[in-house]
């Protein structure tokens, strides 16, 4: 199929960006979206132009690096996937596709489609861990039984890949699904209880300091999340925060 691409080009964080049109031809429907981008970039390199910079790495939907806003949707027009898992069979011959970076105050553009997500790093550093040193003599892994239900639910929250689609898709640029997922994972496990109050307070404080917006229960994040993180995690985070503040 033949396609027209409208892509955000921006030299660096200090330069103004703009949408630029490109054409690609002979795209197979079995290609992934990023393989289509490879075709475009190979074309640009061969004609002496600078290729489009975009983040990508594992190309199997787990590293969380890829981050394109395609036709107005984070990770494009399919559900439960990252950009790298989007396939061209979702498009038709002759389509025009608009490709933008994540747009949020807390995610400044570095170049073209690449954004700076280190705000997420700082939130995790504020409390996204259990304080246990490596010793080799913590208690036996089976010493504290954990109900299968709690373990599974913690795993579902922990499945977050930190891609930032939730922020990109939220009209408030809220990071609550991301933070809620991490808070929930630890809140559901006995190992996470001791620091629970400090953890949620510190992570939420850092989230606010980074300039992420608030949650107004629209639920777009849950729809666009490639890993199906549930809105329940936000409710749990709010509950944890309230509990912490009452202490």
């Amino acid at each position: 199929m033949n396609l027209t691409l409208k892509i955000w080009r921006q030299k660096d964080s200090n330069t103004k960006g703009q949408m630029v049109d490109y054409k690609v031809t002979d795209i197979s429907e079995h290609m992934s979206f990023l393989e289509m981008m490879d075709v475009l970039n190979e074309q640009l390199v061969n004609s002496g132009e600078e290729p489009v910079a975009f983040d990508h790495d594992c190309r199997e939907g787990i590293c969380g690096m890829c981050s394109m806003y395609i036709n107005g949707e984070a990770h494009g027009p399919d559900r439960g996937i990252t950009t790298c898992q989007l396939h061209m069979r979702m498009f038709k011959d002759g389509d025009t596709i608009t490709i933008e970076p994540w747009r949020a105050k807390a995610f400044p553009v570095i170049k073209d489609l690449v954004v700076d997500r280190t705000a997420f790093e700082r939130i995790q550093q504020a409390g996204g861990y259990i304080s246990v040193n490596t010793s080799g003599n913590t208690q036996d892994a089976n010493a504290i039984p954990i109900s299968k239900h709690a373990a599974d639910e913690a795993m579902d929250a922990a499945a977050c890949i930190g891609c930032g689609a939730c922020v990109a898709t939220c009209k408030n640029s809220s990071a609550m699904l991301f933070v809620g997922a991490k808070v929930s994972q630890y809140a559901l496990l006995p190992q996470g209880q001791i620091e629970a109050a400090d953890r949620v307070r510190n992570m939420v404080e850092q989230m606010d300091a980074e300039g992420f917006g608030n949650c107004t229960n629209t639920g777009a994040c849950e729809v666009e999340c490639p890993k199906g993180i549930s809105l329940d995690t936000i409710a749990r985070m709010n509950r944890e925060l309230m509990k912490a503040n009452l202490k």
């Binding site: 390199v45 199997e60 396939h87 490596t134 913590t138």
Partner: protein
């Protein structure tokens, strides 16, 4: 004579590590504050090492090329992590894990290292649970296990199909705690481009800030390389797009020997390739072989009918199918080790029985498992005489709970529903057992330069068993390196900070800058990918699943020719002082073009078949093992450690003889 000293401690194998730990020199906490360590790579090995070293009190500088340490490719490991916990009471023990790993590696690994790995494996699970890693549990609340290829016990711990992700996030959380304390300085979007030696010791690195293009000098008292494997030398592999060998190759060129580059794991269960545009291959976890049965049609007529779309795989009755692994290896069946399963798939496809248009695919079928689980569930739920549809529904629910994310991944890529029709799979490059040579301390032949995780060669011999990569990465990073590096650094307590304004830093920085200038100024005509794909094609065809002397000699000549063309014709657009992904790729491919040739040379030198290295000239000629790999212990029971001498073809071989005192050398039979 060899200059290699493995420094394996004396004494019985069971006591070596304990005795070693009792006797090493320690650095007191006050002095650790004055010692800096650089860790390159933040996967399971690098991440766990950085966190642990920082907890101990060292000043750690950690580097990764991704925008966050959490994105290192360990994250993509699906199936699980082995540990000799024996929670299932099925006969597991440290010795058995040790034995399985040495046997699985086709007796080409160092016994003492493997025993230590098995010994600390149980600590890993304890540590990860304490960190909040949500491992799968059974209804009693205790940890669940599954079985993996090449073993007869269930010792694999898992977190759905995302075990690597959860373990890495555990290590990442431990890192975050230390970053917050200021004990780890984290350099995201940075790439190490060379190592700096002062007085023969590794004392720093030159790195490029991938956002600004700035070339930076970083000094330390020791440098730890944890940059993963070199599978992307094949262009197509299950590695991440950015996975590269540059850090490992640069230390090789500065004096670290490179060991067994020809030991590569071709993983049997990957999604087959579909076209020339393909940028990478996707693995389907080996855990699927617990429940999936692998087959091709028995009759060529059916193969043709399937390829032409006249028949569906589900149309074939049981006796029209060839479950070739169950047929050839009755004891292990679908759970033979990876190298054996891959070669068996290749054998069937080479014979013409491949089931897709390219002829390079076999079936992985879940119908039997769905029926088995469905019947079991019907019984549990007291459903009398369940209908076939009900059984299927119940069975699919169990399969979904076990492998749901993998099935979804498959469906997104292939556009077929694997609950209803068998998956198509084919082997793909997945992991490299070879790597930088290290001694028992995990130190390379450059003093003060360590290498851990997949980047080193140490524990898996010629073939790695499933769920052992995660184990090794975390063992090295959490429990081995933090001890061994202290012994070395105890000499550095009075050294003081290493200055970066020395001649040594000047010289290496100049080399790095010259190479970048070359790429920016070379007005070539071909893209970096052009060369990478060409290299990958040769590697797959001539240095792939089976190898022979003629092909390997050709490969060496052809790779050298591509390398020469690369340095004339490569074209890199953009500038040096900005984010430039093409420039990053150019440097990595330049290194692969050297590594590929050494790889072929190593494969040519090793005139035996062992593990992932199959030489056509060395196969069993008759008897029950006819056609199976033939190892030659008399002549090849050694590690090939290569010393850099300029051109890869001129590399000098050093042999570390392997001694097997605790395990009897036997033919590896899974029949």
């Amino acid at each position: 004579m060899s200059v290699l000293n493995s420094k394996v401690p004396k004494g019985p194998i069971k006591d070596k590590w304990t005795t070693y730990k009792d006797k090493i020199n320690l650095v007191n906490p006050a002095n650790k504050r004055h010692i800096d360590i650089i860790v390159v790579g933040t996967g399971l090995a690098g991440g766990s090492a950085a966190a642990t070293l920082a907890e101990l009190g060292y000043n750690v500088k950690a580097f990764c090329y991704q925008d966050s340490p959490r994105r290192a490719h360990s994250i993509a490991a699906q199936g699980g992590i082995n540990a000799a916990k024996n929670y299932q009471g099925d006969g597991d023990s440290t010795y058995r894990l040790f034995y399985d790993t040495v046997k699985g590696g086709d007796y080409r690994s160092r016994e003492a290292n493997v025993y230590r790995l098995a010994e600390v494996s149980t600590n890993i699970i304890d540590q990860c649970v304490a960190q909040g890693v949500p491992f799968a549990r059974d209804y009693g609340g205790l940890l669940d296990n599954r079985s993996f290829g090449g073993v007869l016990v269930s010792r694999t711990f898992y977190a759905k199909g995302q075990t690597g992700q959860q373990l890495l996030l555990g290590a990442y959380s431990a890192m975050n705690r230390q970053i917050a304390r200021g004990k780890i300085q984290m350099y995201n979007r940075h790439e190490m481009l060379d190592v700096v030696k002062v007085d023969g010791k590794a004392r720093g690195i030159i790195a490029r800030d991938l956002i600004t293009g700035k070339i930076e000098r970083h000094s330390a008292h020791a440098v730890v390389i944890a940059s993963g494997g070199y599978g992307n030398v094949y262009f197509l592999s299950t590695n991440a797009m950015g996975s590269n060998a540059t850090a490992a190759w640069k230390i090789h060129k500065k004096g670290a020997f490179f060991a067994n580059p020809c030991y590569t794991q071709i993983h049997p269960t990957c999604i087959p390739r579909s076209g020339d545009y393909q940028s990478k291959l996707t693995l389907m976890s080996e855990s699927l072989r617990n429940d999936g049965r692998i087959w091709v049609p028995k009759n060529m007529d059916d193969v043709m009918a399937i390829r032409e779309g006249r028949k569906k795989p589900t149309d074939l009755s049981e006796d029209e199918r060839d479950y070739y692994l169950e047929r050839r290896y009755p004891a292990f069946g679908n759970l033979v080790p990876r190298d054996v399963a891959s070669r068996a798939a290749k054998e069937r496809c080479d014979a013409g029985y491949g089931v897709n248009a390219t002829g390079e695919a076999v079936y992985l079928d879940f119908a039997a498992a769905i029926e088995r689980y469905g019947k079991e569930q019907a019984k549990i739920h007291h459903i009398e005489n369940p209908s076939k549809a009900k059984i299927t529904e119940l069975g699919e629910a169990i399969v979904e709970a076990k492998y749901g994310n993998l099935f979804q991944m498959y469906e997104k890529i292939v556009d077929q529903n694997p609950y209803k029709t068998p998956m198509m799979i084919y082997p793909a490059v997945h992991y490299t057992m070879g790597g930088v040579w290290v001694d028992y301390n995990l130190m390379t032949t450059i003093p003060g330069c360590y290498c851990i995780g997949e980047a080193n060669f140490s524990d898996h011999g010629a073939n790695r068993l499933g769920a052992s990569a995660l184990m090794q990465g975390l063992a090295d990073g959490y429990f081995v390196l933090p001890y061994t590096i202290g012994d070395y650094l105890s000499d550095d307590i009075r050294t003081g900070p290493i200055p970066t304004d020395s001649k040594e830093f000047d010289d290496v920085e100049k080399e790095v800058k010259d190479r970048i200038d070359f790429f920016m100024n070379n007005k070539g005509t071909k893209s970096v990918d052009y060369f990478h794909k060409k290299l990958g094609g040769i590697m797959w065809d001539k240095v792939g699943m089976s190898r022979n002397a003629t092909g390997l000699k050709e490969a060496m000549v052809e790779i050298k020719a591509i390398r020469e063309e690369f340095w004339k014709e490569v074209k890199v657009p953009g500038g040096a002082n900005e984010m430039n992904p093409e420039l990053e790729k150019a440097g990595r491919v330049a290194d692969f073009l050297e590594l590929g040739e050494l790889f072929a040379k190593d494969a040519l030198t090793r005139e035996e078949s062992c593990g992932g290295h199959f030489r056509e000239e060395s196969a069993e000629e008759d008897g029950p093992q006819k056609g199976e790999a033939k190892r030659n212990d008399k002549d090849f029971a050694f590690v090939s450690a290569w010393e850099y001498k300029g051109e890869p073809a001129d590399a000098v071989l050093h042999k570390e003889e392997l001694e097997f005192k605790d395990i009897e050398l036997k033919q590896r039979s899974y029949k």
